[in-house]
Assembly symmetry: C2
């Protein structure tokens, strides 16, 4: 195998994830043509996207699987919206679900295999086609009857990871401690490897991240490593037929300790040569610009793994923040610059899909595709570095979450903000969201240098729902990587809910 | 140098740290004889202690340094307690300080070099003698005039790391970003290497852990690595004269991310072969049985570093817990078992000194010295695994602290407790400290298996200041390593302040 070149192994660029429903639901009920299918790929040609990563499933597949239920399993195309498959939904939910179900069904009826076509088109446009398999998707499991679930899941409540309660979706995820569960998922891996000629297969362990009974993650980690080795063997078996190396990737929790605590022993997978593409990522609730890239790089030293930093679409400063907001061009630039500068090989976009489901300013999506993959294209452009948090932790793991922080008069608080390269020119601003205090007279320092209050206007979205206070930071004070923002509540205490360094 | 054997490189056993004041202050003003000096070493002979690690300084030295101020600098042995050196203290403080100052002065007057003698005696008793240098001790810096400070520190306020405030001792620590500060400390390293024939020198970066201006840790890390390389060169220069390898060690923060964020790039030190002994440790406020040993081991792979887990004397379940309590034999066993099982090479005792300053049950100290260094001697003995926290974080780093946790009726909370090897026999108990609730009817599970309420008696110290509730856990449910304790507040909410797994 050594003679086969691994496609796309060099550093820099974007990986782009397309989920298994968006394309269908976002085309507004139109009967999809080959032109529509090909057109979807074309928008990524000539951008910084290198891997086009096609997610083909949640609990069901969006293609005509012979081993799992396709999304249209049980669907009557001539039936009403309240037919049994969709009966458990609201009238509005039925309309939305039917878009996905019907469009996928129709495409198959029309003899178009979406993923086969996308893979071919991607190659034509010099994009590396991957398939991504969600390993434990649990959307809507509060509704046992929902159309989105597989019959296998529905008929085997005993295979779920937390049989003794239902406090949230993850409690009803599959328990990979069960041999039957692992076999069920390997079936789909085998079919995918047989059916599609992809450059790589991604195992998406972050949809949704919980795969074992609480407290059983240690033996779980050994099982997942063995599972990964089996997937690697399946891909090995296909390589001769395909005539090229087939890569194996995984999406895992953003911090090594949490990933291992969830049973994702990514470092062992890498060291054993089982995976050569690793995405570190939060789950969904917020983007995480401060992932510990240095630790990952040190742990992966000596392996051939391409390390990708997963960006999610939403941005929350803390878990309780409402309403939730999307990232903007400037906050994506901030996250990408910080993470690329810390040494990731790729910026990986998740939920940054086209049309109205992406970031609010649709035009900005095209810029993200052309800027966010390289420090060179990010240099000199306005960017925002917002303190957020990690949204996925192992069961029982102590959680490190910076905000909110209450502060009494005379007290100090410190935050650190990774900004990537220090800017050579322009303006820098510290922006605080503060509840219950007029913070204009607070003392604010960046790396020990005092900042001056400049305004309490709200910056563009995303911004704090709380009042915001902006302070000019001396440009010369900024440093590459982490910058310390220290705050003294000189003029009465309050509650800090947002901390940001904006460079413009 | 490869031909010189590194003393004590194999796994298992204890390292023992003796600070620079305890021996003097604890002998109650007695004029110390050679017999007293030798007797101190003898108590560690024949125990599991392998490295006897002799700390020789805070801001002053406890021996007659020619390059730093000895502790008796400015002392008039015939003067009154309120002489200038001790004038800033309370009358009680003066008496206590004078014990240290006078005993060290007297020993020197009597021609006894304590550390030279201890080093020789250690070798005689097959103990490996080390010297430990505290790199930034800041005891009592709220009192600028206190006897304990060096004239160098007193006369150079501009060398302190936070010139713009005084919110706590660490603000007045030396700033190692200053060349003059690094040079001042290298002077003592050179003297120590010249003066004493030790097996190893330890740089204690955890007294007190803060060495750079906030936000300047990145360039600080490069400076500390260069500093460590210079110390290694100094030791290299002594090896021929000594005729044996001289090891270099360091004490650093318990988690890789925090250590790096404080400027302690221990992984690089190890990979460059600069250090061969690394102690991961909390600072002081509590013992930390849940240090991420797996991460450290993975990061140190391929190096020759001996990895030691530092145990502190105190035990707090959370930062706000009062009054503070000491560990007991059983909680030390718990921490040692958990950490040894995760793969550390040594258990390192800090502040476990003899006499009244050690654990409450003095007799238990002797047992700790004979049990805590090996899983074989810990096996089958009662031990307690208490959830605590990490007490040292980089400036601005988000802090992961498990307790306290408020819980409303019907909610669930999870904790994880590393226990080392699963016990083959005996009893297991989950013990909760709970405020504002009668928790006897709460649902408690270990790794998914239900536990039964057994009593609300308080266990022996250390225990929670809050009411405690004990539940029997099925022995078969326990697993090696992490065990998940899940709690449902079925019968009214409260505040969980203590979580423990006791094995007996």
């Amino acid at each position: 195998m050594a003679a086969m070149a691994a496609p796309g192994a060099a550093a820099g660029g974007l990986s782009f994830n397309e989920d298994s429903s968006h394309f269908f639901t976002s085309r507004n009920g139109k009967r999809l043509t080959l032109q529509d299918v090909d057109g979807w790929v074309e928008q990524y040609a000539g951008t910084q996207v290198r891997e086009l990563i096609l997610n083909v499933n949640a609990m069901r597949t969006s293609y005509a699987s012979k081993v799992w239920d396709p999304i249209w399993h049980g669907y009557d195309p001539n039936g009403p919206d309240d037919q049994p498959l969709m009966a458990s939904l609201t009238p509005e939910g039925r309309k939305s679900a039917r878009k996905w179900i019907h469009a996928a069904w129709q495409l198959n009826e029309d003899g178009i295999d979406l993923y086969a076509r996308w893979i071919a088109q991607a190659r034509k446009h010099k994009l590396s086609p991957w398939v991504s398999m969600r390993m434990n998707d649990i959307h809507n499991v509060d509704d046992e009857k929902a159309y989105i679930h597989s019959e296998f899941w529905r008929s085997h409540p005993e295979y779920r990871r937390v049989p003794y309660r239902f406090a949230g979706w993850p409690d009803r995820a599959f328990d990979y401690g069960r041999r039957e569960v692992r076999e069920y998922h390997l079936k789909l891996v085998r079919e995918l490897a047989e059916r599609y000629d992809f450059d790589g297969l991604e195992l998406d362990w972050m949809r949704f991240g919980y795969h074992f009974r609480p407290g059983h993650e240690r033996e779980g980690a050994e099982l997942l490593t063995e599972f990964t080795a089996e997937v690697r063997r399946i891909l090995d078996g296909q390589q001769k037929k395909r005539g090229h190396r087939i890569r194996l990737g995984a999406r895992v929790a953003s911090r090594p300790e949490s990933a291992l605590g969830l049973g994702m022993d990514a470092v062992t997978w890498a060291q054993r040569g089982l995976v050569d593409f690793l995405v570190i990522t939060p789950f969904w609730a917020t983007i995480e610009p401060d992932m510990p890239v240095e630790q990952w790089k040190a742990l992966l030293k000596g392996t051939n793994v391409t390390l990708a930093a997963g960006l999610e679409l939403l941005l929350r400063a803390h878990p309780g923040e409402k309403p939730y907001q999307k990232n903007s061009l400037e906050t994506v630039r901030g996250a990408a610059a910080a993470l690329l500068d810390r040494g990731v090989d790729r910026v990986y976009l998740f939920n940054y899909m086209d049309s109205e489901t992406a970031i609010d300013q649709v035009a900005d999506n095209a810029r993200i595709l052309r800027e966010a993959g390289s420090l060179a294209t990010l240099a000199g452009k306005p960017r925002r570095h917002v303190v957020t948090y990690a949204d996925t932790w192992a069961p029982g793991e102590a959680q490190a979450i910076a905000l909110p922080q209450s502060i009494a008069k005379g007290q100090w608080r410190a935050f650190r903000v990774p900004i990537g390269p220090a800017p050579g020119a322009g303006k820098a601003e510290v922006r605080l969201g503060v509840e219950s205090a007029d913070a204009r007279d607070w003392k604010v320092l960046v790396n020990g240098e005092p900042c001056a209050f400049v305004s309490d206007r709200k910056p563009e979205k995303p911004h704090s729902p709380a009042p915001m206070f902006c302070f000019t930071a001396p440009l010369a004070a900024l440093r590459r990587g982490y910058n310390a923002v220290e705050i003294e509540a000189t003029a009465g205490g309050g509650r800090i809910v947002w901390v940001e360094l904006a460079l413009g």
